[in-house]
């Protein structure tokens, strides 16, 4: 009961500490929002063409050109936007409102009808040697796009894939081996409802309006700010000692372990609440996806909070003054956050850094969140393993803090 009384008292004090509430809740949200808005374009560049907006103009207006556009729209890698005229599309390209322009000329279907199987199989020698212009397709890429050739190659590849069965069907030998035209038209009539399974380099499923950058920013900064809790926790212990109330707690008929648990528990609860609110905010404000099985977020949040509050106990056991809390605590949070991948995606870290980061609880928390948020299916064993490591960190920190406090309490 003594431990719970101390917990309730400290929760009351924490809720009355506006600075702590700002640090725990508002500041991480601010960081996430600012970084998400200012660096979202940069951080999602490694997703490749899925970032690119392509203005499409259909001057042909044929069934075939519609079929090509419909197939292109099914891809999650690009975002196709219809423009009424080539001039409008070129204007958008000039203003960088779009990354590339794809114009299907008025003779597109006619040119495709002229293609033979030889042209399809021998692209470098046949009618398609001139590229998309041979079928009256024009592509332009904006000046700010670095990998323009890649986009052209991708677009033409997709167009080629669409027109190949049309050309091949004219050949009586090939015809039996091709899907029926009705099957193809059924598939292409579904414009946006069921996109093809994407062929990306990383298995990512996006919510309809989600900017995938928040799938990194929210967990990254949540983990960092959860560990910022150690500063507040250490200050609470120092305050208890400086106020003289620690002596009263020692005089009271409660065990030293109860005092430690009572002092640690409010910060654990605050940490769980903080993480939950940040993820909820990520969902509501930034349309962040919680992954295919959000239930797995619960153990990850609980174990991350355990590691953070135990580290807070260890810090509190060693520092003596507020200045030491600021110096050691803040440095620890920033260094561990930087090393572990809270500031930039772990995938971008050098291999050595990735290995070193595994000595931090932050890295394991980030891996656990990634396993829940960024995969098509959650590997429960993997999540279990990551949580187990976080609990090991928590146990080690708690034992270290308890051993040190034993001398003081």
């Amino acid at each position: 009961m003594g431990a719970w009384d101390i917990t309730c008292k400290d929760l009351k004090l924490l809720l009355r500490d506006r600075r702590a509430l700002v640090l725990l809740l508002l500041l991480p949200l601010l960081f996430i929002a600012i970084l998400g808005m200012s660096t979202g374009q940069f951080l999602t560049k490694e997703d490749g063409p899925s970032r690119y907006r392509v203005a499409v103009v259909d001057e042909d207006g044929s069934e075939l050109s519609s079929h090509v556009i419909a197939n292109l729209k099914k891809h999650g890698q690009i975002s196709l936007e219809d423009y009424p005229s080539r001039a409008a599309a070129e204007e958008a390209l000039k203003k960088q409102e779009t990354s590339a322009l794809l114009a299907i000329g008025p003779a597109f279907e006619e040119k495709v009808d002229e293609l033979t199987l030889r042209d399809m199989f021998g692209r470098e020698q046949g009618a398609l040697a001139d590229g998309p212009e041979a079928v009256h397709i024009t592509m332009q890429v904006g000046p700010s796009v670095g990998d323009g050739e890649l986009i052209r190659y991708f677009l033409f590849g997709e167009i080629y894939r669409t027109i190949f069965p049309v050309v091949a069907r004219r050949n009586t030998i090939m015809r039996p081996y091709l899907p029926r035209e009705e099957d193809e038209s059924e598939a292409s009539s579904v414009t946006e409802a069921t996109p093809e399974p994407p062929v990306p380099t990383e298995p990512v499923k996006k919510a309809s309006n989600e900017n995938p950058v928040y799938r990194f920013l929210v967990p990254g900064f949540t983990v960092m700010f959860v560990f910022f809790l150690i500063n507040i926790m250490a200050r609470s212990f120092i305050a208890e000692r400086d106020l003289g109330t620690l002596r009263r707690l020692r005089l009271a008929p409660i065990s030293p372990v109860a005092v430690l648990v009572g002092k640690t528990l409010p910060f654990y609860l605050a940490s769980v609440l903080q993480t939950s609110l940040l993820f909820l905010s990520g969902r509501i404000l930034f349309q962040m996806s919680w992954g295919p099985e959000p239930i797995y977020l619960i153990p990850v949040i609980l174990c991350t909070s355990a590691a953070a509050t135990s580290l807070g106990l260890l810090l509190a056991a060693w520092v003596q003054t507020d200045q030491q809390v600021s110096a050691y605590g803040t440095s620890m949070v920033l260094i561990l956050g930087g090393v572990s991948g809270c500031f930039i995606p772990r995938a971008w870290l050098p291999d050595l850094m990735k290995q070193l980061s595994l000595a931090t609880p932050h890295a394991w928390a980030l891996r656990a969140f990634d396993a829940v948020l960024a995969k098509d299916a959650v590997d429960s064993i993997q999540v279990h393993d990551y949580c187990f490591v976080l609990l090991l960190f928590a146990a080690a920190f708690f034992v270290g803090g308890w051993w040190r406090f034993r001398q003081a309490i």
Binding site: M1, G2, R16, D17, L243, T245, R247, L251, A252, I254
Partner: protein
């Protein structure tokens, strides 16, 4: 049987011997004064009694049994009012009392009633809903005192509870101590304010350099104290001619007093010598009187006038 006994307590901090040998006994309903200069070992002694410091040797008995404060049930027998405030400034008086009361096992209406009782006793009921950081120094001291009494301890230790407190709050606190003692609680009262100790305590223990210098009733201790002789003088110059015989005190009003210590066995001869030398120096002795014995004089006589760190 005494309520509490400290028997040959000893404590060192490394090579520094803080408490060499301290023994005393406290009766129920008694206020025992604990006096000593800074660094004498008072606080160390009180911490050993309270169980905050394990003694190197010696023991503390409660009702004749070893007082092992590691046992929670025995901690309920003891209340401590520390010298430094030990309350939460961001909590109200009610919240402070409820929190500490719960730690001592008080619940529900018992807790509520006890908190109200103490708030009334310490004159804090009207301010009880305000955070303690808004209180005056005296109010904080009274709250500090109230916290120690929540669980109705049988032994109460007060370590300079009236430091920095206005006279009204001090008077109120002293009345509270008297009423607590009247209820049968044994009180150990440590203070540098001699008049407080004289007004509260029948018996005092005087400690210096970790040793007990005196432990008896004030009356008995003072009866053995010889009075100083005070000579009010004027004219001439009182310089070094009295060195080793008497001390010279200059009053704020420009008057000079020559003091012959009462503990000198040859006081009569010294008086004659001093009078002769003063006459030779042209100093006029206006008045001779004896200084009334009091606790402060006794304390200074036992511990000396030298400054302590």
């Amino acid at each position: 049987m005494s309520l509490l006994e400290a028997i040959h307590l000893r404590k060192s901090y490394g090579s520094h011997l803080a408490v060499a040998d301290v023994s005393f006994a406290l009766n129920a309903g008694e206020v025992l004064g604990l006096l000593g200069p800074n660094g004498a070992g008072k606080s160390t002694t009180m911490m050993m009694i309270a169980g905050l410091l394990p003694p190197d040797s010696g023991q503390v008995l409660l009702d004749g049994e070893v007082f092992d404060t590691r046992l929670p049930v025995l901690r309920r027998e003891l209340g401590v009012v520390p010298q430094d405030l030990a309350i939460y400034p961001e909590l109200t008086a009610w919240e402070n009392l409820r929190f500490f009361g719960r730690l001592y096992g008080l619940r529900g209406s018992d807790l509520q009633g006890r908190c109200r009782e103490l708030l009334e006793q310490t004159g804090l009921l009207d301010a009880a809903q305000r955070p303690a950081r808004e209180y005056s120094g005296g109010m904080k001291r009274r709250l500090n005192f109230a916290v120690a009494l929540l669980h109705r301890p049988r032994v109460l230790i007060l370590d300079e509870p009236t430091v920095g407190v206005d006279p009204q709050s001090r008077s109120h606190l002293l009345d509270c101590v008297r009423s607590v003692a009247a209820a049968g609680v044994g009180v150990i009262y440590a203070s540098h304010y001699m008049e407080e100790v004289e007004s509260l305590c029948k018996r005092v223990a005087i400690i210096d350099h970790g040793r007990m210098l005196a432990f008896d009733t004030i009356e008995h201790l003072l009866s053995g104290l010889s009075a100083d002789l005070h000579l009010s003088v004027s004219g001439g110059g009182v310089n070094g001619q009295l060195t080793g015989l008497a001390r010279v005190e200059s009053g704020g009003d420009g008057r000079t007093t020559v003091v012959i210590p009462g503990d000198r066995p040859d006081r009569s001869e010294v008086l004659q010598t001093v009078l002769a030398r003063l006459k030779d120096s042209g100093v006029i002795v206006e008045r001779i009187e004896t200084q009334q014995s009091n606790l402060e004089r006794l304390f200074l006589q036992l511990t000396g006038r030298g400054l302590r760190d």
